[in-house]
Symmetry: C2
DNA sequence: GGCTCTTTGCAACGAACAGTTGCAATCACG
DNA sequence: CGTGATTGCAACTGTTCGTTGCAAAGAGCC
């Protein structure tokens, strides 16, 4: 069989301005943060980015694709590398502090909402799974291994409940209660979980 | 001051069919469950309910109002009355089991998503706060009081973290991980929190 | 500079959907 | 049976998504 349509090498002509891409993605996040997922209009994004509507459509096929692309640039480096602080409590706080900060910003909350609204936005759903759950899971594993070595972890305590519990609490607090997650609050939640997984110090 | 516009008593004429209201609200939930918050079209709702579009608009002023009304009929009796089972563990499971079941259905998840997408939908946000947080908070209070009396509750353990933690874990599990919350899973989460708030049994 | 092929701006357009309005038919209730 | 409402229907406005054709401009290469 012959190659079907060798994708037409096109190295000539005017290249696309990186400047445009950046401006549009940034404008998308801003729009998303103020207008919400449903309220985001790409015509307003174009206006904000000082760019014409058609230019936006020529780079991202649909509204959803644009939003997904914009979120991609944000969510990645949030839970990437958690520090080794020498205690389970410190490690968990170190892991969750960036998440709390992220959710403290309107753009961050918009991202979280978009991720939770997933079924309507498959791209976003996949993205959320990849960039949030992935790194977080590996971080948790390492962190628990260290805690085990220090004797801070009860044998039967389930590792895979730590993340849902803590991140879930953060989501509940920020998105449902609309309250902020200060340092004290975060420490309280972490303490709850830490003592939940600690070995019983029986007589 | 005189009464401004005594709202025009109108007891004559053909009354509105309760049947129509029911059908439309039910269709709205079904549509919401399959198409998501953004994808819900009131023309499709009307079609599903065997009713004309204008009839829908004559009863609910906007799409958002209709959705809020439909959710209202659902979310109320979920966390209403938690049983007194004689143990903190049992009480918490009794409280959360209905929530887990609720989130197990597509309509329930749609409701949760709508509540989390709140800022775009003020009615829905207010509704969620009222019908979810309200009853749950009172239930938790009573439940903790009983646990305290039984000595299952450590003095310093923060009461107001129990709900965010547990409900948050449920949300994380169902809406982000897209996994189901079986009985075993729920018990594990509750156990984590129960041992988190339990008094230290030191030597 | 000049050429080429592209991106960008612009205006106009079609389709889908929210929400409205006027009219005719229907129907519950007194 | 008559009254005054609800309901169905068709047509309409306005907004937004997404597309298309055309003209202008610009980046890289000779």
């Amino acid at each position: 069989m012959a190659r079907t349509t060798p994708p037409r090498r096109r190295d000539t002509g005017r290249p696309r301005g990186q400047h445009v891409t950046d401006a549009v993605l940034e404008a998308t996040l801003a729009e998303l943060a103020t207008a919400g997922l449903e309220g985001t209009r790409i015509e307003r994004i174009a206006e904000r980015a000082q760019v014409h509507k058609t230019t936006v459509y020529r780079r991202w096929p649909t509204r959803e694709a644009l939003i997904a692309a914009a979120l991609e640039g944000l969510a990645v480096d949030t839970m990437a590398n958690a520090p080794d602080t020498g205690s389970l409590r410190g490690d968990l706080i170190g892991l969750l502090r960036p998440v709390a900060t992220f959710l403290g910003r309107a753009e961050g909350r918009a991202v979280a909402r978009a991720a939770l609204a997933a079924p309507a936005e498959p791209h976003v759903a996949e993205l959320a799974a990849r960039s949030l759950e992935g790194p977080a899971a590996t971080a948790i594993e390492a962190l628990v291994a260290r805690a085990r070595a220090r004797g801070e972890w009860r044998g039967g305590a389930p590792v895979d409940l730590v993340l849902p519990t803590l991140v879930g609490a953060l989501l509940h607090r920020t998105l449902l209660e609309h309250a902020d997650t200060g340092a004290a609050w975060l420490e309280d939640v972490v303490d709850l979980v830490v003592s939940g997984v600690a070995p019983r110090e029986h007589a």
